[in-house]
């Protein structure tokens, strides 16, 4: 009861959209009052996001259209910007980051979850300290190192940094999920002659899909949204990912809101769709449990 368990945060009643209204409601009138309250709060909070969408659908500067609603911005950005290139570069880096992050964090999280020794407590502390360090400290040494390795201005370079970025939280997330899997399962597998790695792969990992998805979503958001790393490490425009692409386009066309916001919509769609689809698997509450128990 002391720690936030991963599994508790996505039980069935909470996670399925639309499951709620079908239930018998004890105080329907009070509930509708709350509905209005939350509606107002959400509307105020979401003004900036709504502004992006609305502006992207309005005629932009220099447009001959008099309509109040148009999709021409979404046609024009393909000819006037490198939006497809940014989309491709961001997709490549993000997917690579997700795959490598999960692959590296999955076994490391197992160590944190199952192992008990001073060395592992030390490992846990190192992860915590690393999470606390300002990245701006690491930027210049990494820039020099990567320059020597030929990794500056490459998507590989920023992918490696993103994976390093995600490590602490990704490991905590995996460990938090493993904690909810009884150790008896592995022990049974070991009794049957399974190796530790085999037990991990076939018993633990096979039952950890929510944990893996949670970690993957986190890594996706880090790689897709981060601004400082591509700003420093990407030099040529054909290597730009979305964050630096949008920002450079915004700086050159800051009054042409229709086009800028159309690019912004393109950039925010992938993480929003991903999060809307997989949101019930995502839990940051587990980090707390993982930290407190380590």
């Amino acid at each position: 009861m002391t720690t936030v368990e991963f599994s508790e945060s996505h039980d069935a009643t909470d996670s399925h959209l639309g499951a709620e209204p079908t239930k018998a409601d004890p105080e329907p009138r009070g509930s509708w009052g709350k509905f209005v309250l939350v509606l107002v709060i959400a509307a105020v909070v979401l003004i900036p996001v709504l502004a992006v969408v609305v502006l992207s659908l309005q005629p932009s500067l220099g447009s001959t259209s008099t309509a109040t609603f148009t999709l021409e911005n979404f046609v024009n950005i393909f000819s006037q910007t490198d939006v497809l290139l940014w989309l491709r570069n961001s997709m490549v880096t993000t997917l690579a980051t997700v795959l490598v992050s999960v692959a590296v964090a999955a076994p490391a999280g197992y160590v944190l979850s199952r192992g008990r020794s001073r060395l592992i407590s030390g490992f846990s502390l190192v992860l915590f300290i690393v999470q606390a360090l300002p990245f701006v400290t690491a930027v210049i040494p990494l820039f020099i190192l990567f320059a020597n390795l030929g990794l500056v201005d490459t998507l590989t370079g920023i992918t490696i940094i993103f994976v390093g970025f995600t490590m602490s939280v990704a490991i905590w997330m995996m460990a938090a999920y493993y904690d909810s899997i009884p150790i008896n399962l592995e022990e049974a597998a070991w009794m049957d002659g399974c190796s530790v790695f085999g037990g991990f792969l076939r018993v633990v990992l096979r039952n950890s899909l929510p944990g893996i998805l949670s970690t993957a979503i986190f890594a996706f958001l880090v790689a897709w949204n981060d601004y400082l790393v591509p700003l420093v490490f990407l030099r040529s425009s054909e290597k730009f990912t979305f964050p630096v692409g949008l920002q450079s386009f915004f700086q050159q066309n800051s009054t042409n809101w229709g086009l800028v916001m159309a690019v912004a919509v393109m950039m925010m769609l992938p993480p929003v769709i991903l999060f809307a689809a997989l949101n019930r698997y995502f839990s940051v509450g587990g980090i707390g449990g993982s930290l407190a128990g380590a």
Binding site: D11, P107, P134, T137, A276, N279, G288
Partner: protein, 320 residues
Amino acid sequence: MSTSTAGQGLTRARTGVAVRGSGPPLAPRKTRRPGASPLTLGAFAAPALFLVLLINLYPVIYAGWQSLRDGSLIDAGDFVGLQNYADVLTDPTFWAAARFTVVFTLVGVFGSWFVGLALALLLKTRFPVKNTFKLLLLLPWVVPVVVSATAWNWLVATPQSPLPILAEALGLGNVLFLADPLLAKITVCVFKVWISFPFMMMMMAAALESVDNNVYEAAKVDGASKWNTLTNITLPMISRSTYISWILMTIFCVNDFPTIFLLTGGGPVNATQTLVVLSYVTVFQNFQTGPGVAIAFLMTLVLIVISVALYRQIKKVQIL
């Protein structure tokens, strides 16, 4: 479970029983469990350790060495001792940035916690289409910061923006949110709270779910008011999660770069400069690598000390 003392943990470690998990404590095993030797566990952790060493620890050590030299991005430079630190520490810009970092962090942590907790409590109750709202309220955190900074720019930056027009209509005169130092500071802090509250909401919602409903029933039977239930039951029960969320958010705020850099670039006249932004600007815009790295390294040292202290504290936070 996790409040078990170090002694217990050690005993269980020796007998090879996991300390965590929500089940009852397992009985000590007589035999060593097969397989999971230190070597195997080491191999499991090796790739992650390698990455952490390469991307996080090696650069920090290198930065420490570099902060003692007058080099640049391409040139190692000469050894200058503590000159960079002397330059930085006697510069009023540094202290202004340090002060604003503290303000920005305090507002960011407690502002987002307050909003996040209030919304988590609200979302705990039942009302129509609740789950859609839950998802919508996470958007500020999911939407890339480059996009939201662009949107906030449109909202506040120029005299033609909606908020300045609204302020003028309300008779507040010509309000320039990002041109006035104090207003720019407030705007940046509000922007940070706006970005961060969904994270707090998720942390707090997960913590609230772990509180046993019977406790609330009992309080109701005893005639406790809603406010009393909140301050005497709910908040103490989620104190550990609250503490952890404060620590994580402190780290996020202190190290935050894009929120400020994209909205104001540290201006007007350095008013919204935090140490991270100052360090970046010093290195990449003023091309003073030595002092810039010295600022970053000072922050790093302070953060290491603070994080180790906070980390030890996590296990001591009492529940109820």
